[in-house]
């Protein structure tokens, strides 16, 4: 099957944090089935969605991701029994926080993709990519990185006092 490739002005950068047992395997299945999806996604493999720290998502946005996908096993199917349940609770809270900070939640997607759902992986990635493409780039966090980066120097009296009090 040949898919007509269209060139776009904006190619969003999508980062996917996936668990190794379900979604990574599901993405493998999409490959062995030769399904096609946008090449914008970069996959980072974790043993379990339970391992994924929300900080990783923030960092990914800072490092230029325009959209982030977190995907693991379906609830109840976790290889590690309950990791995805912890992830689900954690990210429910985290989403609310991101919303509060002002991040458009359309840039952050959570999904369950099992090892048998190659097609679903393709759908999820395609949908997220196209959605983020219409939203345009996300510069806010990138700028934030430069502003807030701490040189490591204790160059204000407040900082010095705080540092000393830790001992």
């Amino acid at each position: 099957m040949h898919v007509e490739v269209t060139k776009h002005d904006f190619e969003p950068k999508i980062v996917a944090f996936v668990c190794t047992w379900c979604t990574y395997a599901g993405a493998d299945l999409a490959g062995t089935s030769r399904m096609q999806y946008p090449p914008n996604v970069r996959v980072l493999k974790f043993p379990c969605t339970g391992r994924i720290d929300p900080v990783f998502i923030l960092r990914a946005f800072q490092k230029g991701a325009d959209g982030v996908l977190v995907s693991g096993c379906h609830p109840g199917d976790c290889h590690y029994m309950a990791g995805n349940f912890h992830a689900r609770r954690r990210f429910a809270a985290f989403r609310a926080l991101l919303d509060f900070v002002g991040v458009d939640l359309n840039r952050l997607q959570f999904s369950w993709v099992s090892a048998a759902e190659g097609g679903k992986w393709v759908d999820v990635v395609t949908e997220l990519t196209e959605r983020v493409r219409t939203m345009g780039p996300m510069p806010e966090f990138k700028e934030l990185e430069h502003e807030e980066q701490w040189s490591g120097a204790i160059n204000t009296p407040e900082l010095k006092e705080a540092y000393d009090s830790i001992g």
Binding site: V3, G31, Y37, G50, R51, K63, A65, C78, G83
Partner: protein, 665 residues
């Protein structure tokens, strides 16, 4: 500065067709810290692996990245090659540029750019990787089998015959389980007890088997190879070491009219009893709730007549701790009943069949007892209400099973076959009787099974009616059965003398509680979950625990025996080694920073995290910290994402590694 080698594979044309592998290799070579990069047609081939080994030696590489297929495909291959070249295998990683890149994208430029990115990320992962050593744990070569039905018996005998010691724990006073209750078995119609009791005797006589009946699992500690299991030995009120099994206590017991559980309540037994004559062990127990001595303090007949003085009214429950390396769970099933269920129960009864109040509506197991030569009627088919021989018997399949409205949507698998068997047994015993079967589908896959069912229809003259029964009620001494034949499209009414329900197979009572003690998972019905439906059908997700028989799902005897032997084989495989090696992806605690909040302990699904005391030289408690038992840790990393002080870390997926990868985005 690290010295990483990057090897980009063409995979024939699978990768190189859409990814410019030369460019990827070239770009990789320009990443700081990459000391060597190349591309090759088939990295997994012998010459490919040799190329990798040579490069490690020549360029003194301290890390290897193979950009090729999915790590699920060849990670083991390349880690072995790296190890052969003298590198720690965990410093070898794979970048998936086939399944995740070349196969799913058409645009060569974009695919190549993506492949470069993937390689860049993975180089960072290799750079921050650590040498890891496989974890070894010793193995106690003694197995525990829970449940003494045919599954547990088969597993215990197989393991014991292989030369390993086995502890077999059974909740009831005798082993034998449900198979001992059956009259004849399909599809051969051989007598169940005739093939079962010799196996029970084998268990009792086997030098490698320790048998604990009337005992339950109290507590399970430890992990694969090293379980400590506390067994509760319920007070039998009879000293097993003294009892000779003469049975005089049972004949003299004045309380004889207690419904016998073994006969489904249709025969009688005394208060001091063995469940059935061939019981193993042949040592009676006193049913304290029904014993006059225990209830009113007066009687004591059994103690007076017991020659060896084995009866002991003062006996207490005792506990032992058994060290075992593997556990086979074989707790079997119970049958669903149509009784009214307590309010809020997820399972419902059958009000339309009278909620079990009509005496001549019985279940399949009761029919087995009626048909059994050792049963309460001596093998004659006589109905419970008035002891008459029923001339019209209606069998109804799928009662409870395949009825999601009643709370059970699965098929119980054995009912089609045993109902066919029942019609045959009935026809053999009551020549002028007629059997009717209401059924939806005849599910008879299995060797000789469909032929068996057809025989029931064609030769034994059972009338099969495709349709279900809506309602049954008593009219005089008959039961009016209101059903339908969907093929003809009419309602069917039969005045039956006896109705036999093929009720659903459910897990044993307390299956969920046992699972919680063992730390294994179970489904919403309380059937135990296997690790993989296809490829790990006897393993649990919890290492070292195996499943056999109907506790995992409804099964007939041949399937149960096969699974029991398979579970035994898994135990033997485990016992073939003195030490266990396992993947070192486990969490470790940085005790310096751990504040002992134990948030990690709460989220750990494996119970791998313990509280460890840190003491100074004087022995004063300084603080408590978390400690991860590497034998138990499953390696999910949930603890690390949860830890507020970032003082627990999963080897192979450290924050440092992941952050480095994100930085390289």
């Amino acid at each position: 500065m690290s010295r990483i080698g990057v090897f980009v594979c063409h995979c024939g044309e699978n990768i190189s067709r859409t990814v410019d592998v030369e460019q990827v290799a070239k770009a990789a070579g320009e990443i700081p810290g990459v000391a060597f990069s190349c591309d090759y047609k088939y990295m997994c081939s012998d010459p490919g692996q040799t190329l990798l080994k040579k490069a490690v030696a020549e360029h003194k590489l301290d890390g290897v990245l193979v950009a090729a297929c999915s790590p699920r495909m060849h990670e083991k291959t390349f880690r072995k090659a790296a190890e052969a070249a003298g590198l720690n295998p965990y410093l070898c990683e794979m970048a998936n540029i086939r399944e995740h890149c070349s196969w799913v994208h058409e645009d060569r430029d974009m695919a190549t750019a993506k492949a470069k990115d993937i390689v860049k990320l993975m180089v960072e992962r290799v750079r921050k990787g650590k040498s890891l050593a496989p974890i070894t744990v010793p193995v106690t070569k003694r197995a525990l089998v829970i449940g003494g039905g045919i599954a547990g018996i088969q597993a215990a005998l197989d393991i014991a015959d292989a030369g390993h010691r086995v502890v077999l724990v059974e909740r009831e006073p005798s082993i034998g389980g449900h198979m001992a209750q059956l009259s004849e078995t399909f599809p051969t119609l051989d007598c169940s007890q005739c093939i079962m009791t010799p196996k029970m005797v084998d268990v009792a006589n086997h030098p490698n088997i320790t048998l604990f009946t009337y005992s339950e699992i109290e507590k399970v500690d430890g992990y694969i190879g090293n379980f400590q299991v506390t067994v509760k030995h319920k007070a039998r009120s009879v000293d097993e070491s003294k009892c000779t099994g003469c049975g005089i206590c049972m004949t003299k017991c004045p309380k004889k009219k207690i419904p016998n559980e073994f006969d489904q309540g249709h025969g009688m037994r005394p208060a001091i009893y063995v469940p059935f004559p061939q019981a193993v062990p042949n040592t009676p127990v006193i049913d304290r709730e029904n014993c006059t001595m225990f209830q009113s303090g007066k009687c004591g007949v059994c103690a007076k007549v017991c020659g060896p003085g084995a009866v002991d009214y003062e006996q207490q429950d005792t506990f032992t701790v058994e060290d075992v390396g593997a556990i086979v769970v074989a707790t079997g099933f119970k049958l669903y009943t149509i009784d009214r269920k307590p309010e809020g129960s997820p399972i419902q009864g059958y009000g339309e069949f009278g909620y079990g109040t009509i005496p001549d509506i019985i279940d399949g197991m009761t029919f087995e007892r009626l048909a059994s030569a050792s049963g309460p009627t001596g093998g004659k088919i006589l109905r419970p209400s008035d002891g008459k021989e029923p001339k019209q018997v209606v069998f109804i399949q799928c009662v409870g099973s395949r009825a999601r409205e009643k709370g059970i949507s699965y098929c119980s698998k054995v009912c089609c076959m045993y109902t066919a068997k029942h019609t045959m047994l009935y026809h053999h015993k009551v020549h002028d009787g007629q059997a009717y079967v209401f059924f939806m589908d005849a599910r008879t896959p299995g060797k000789g099974y469909d032929e068996f069912w057809r025989r029931a229809v064609e030769e034994e003259e059972a009338v099969y009616i495709r349709g279900m029964v809506s309602r049954m009620y008593q009219r005089g001494d008959k039961i009016v059965v209101m059903g339908s034949d969907i093929q003809v499209g009419v309602q069917v009414e039969i005045e039956a003398d006896l109705v036999v329900l093929a009720t659903a197979v459910q897990p044993q009572d307390g299956a969920d509680l046992l699972a919680q003690k063992l730390g294994i998972s179970y489904d919403k019905y309380n059937f135990y979950s296997e690790a993989h439906a296809k490829l790990k059908p006897v393993e649990c997700a919890t290492a070292g625990i195996y499943l056999a028989g109907a506790c995992q799902g409804p099964k007939d005897i041949p399937d149960t025996v096969s699974q029991a032997s398979a579970a035994a084989a898994k135990v033997m495989t485990l016992f073939a080694k003195d030490k266990l090696e396992r993947d070192p992806v486990v969490a470790k605690v940085n005790e310096k920073y751990c504040v002992g909040c134990f948030a990690c302990k709460k989220v750990c699904a494996y119970g791998a995290i313990e509280e460890k005391e840190i003491r100074d030289r004087q022995g004063n408690l300084v603080k408590k910290v978390a400690y991860v038992n590497p034998g138990v840790c499953g390696g999910c990393g949930t603890c690390q994402a949860t830890c507020p002080s970032k003082s627990i870390e999963l080897d192979g997926y450290t924050d440092e590694q992941i952050m480095a990868m994100i930085e390289a985005l």
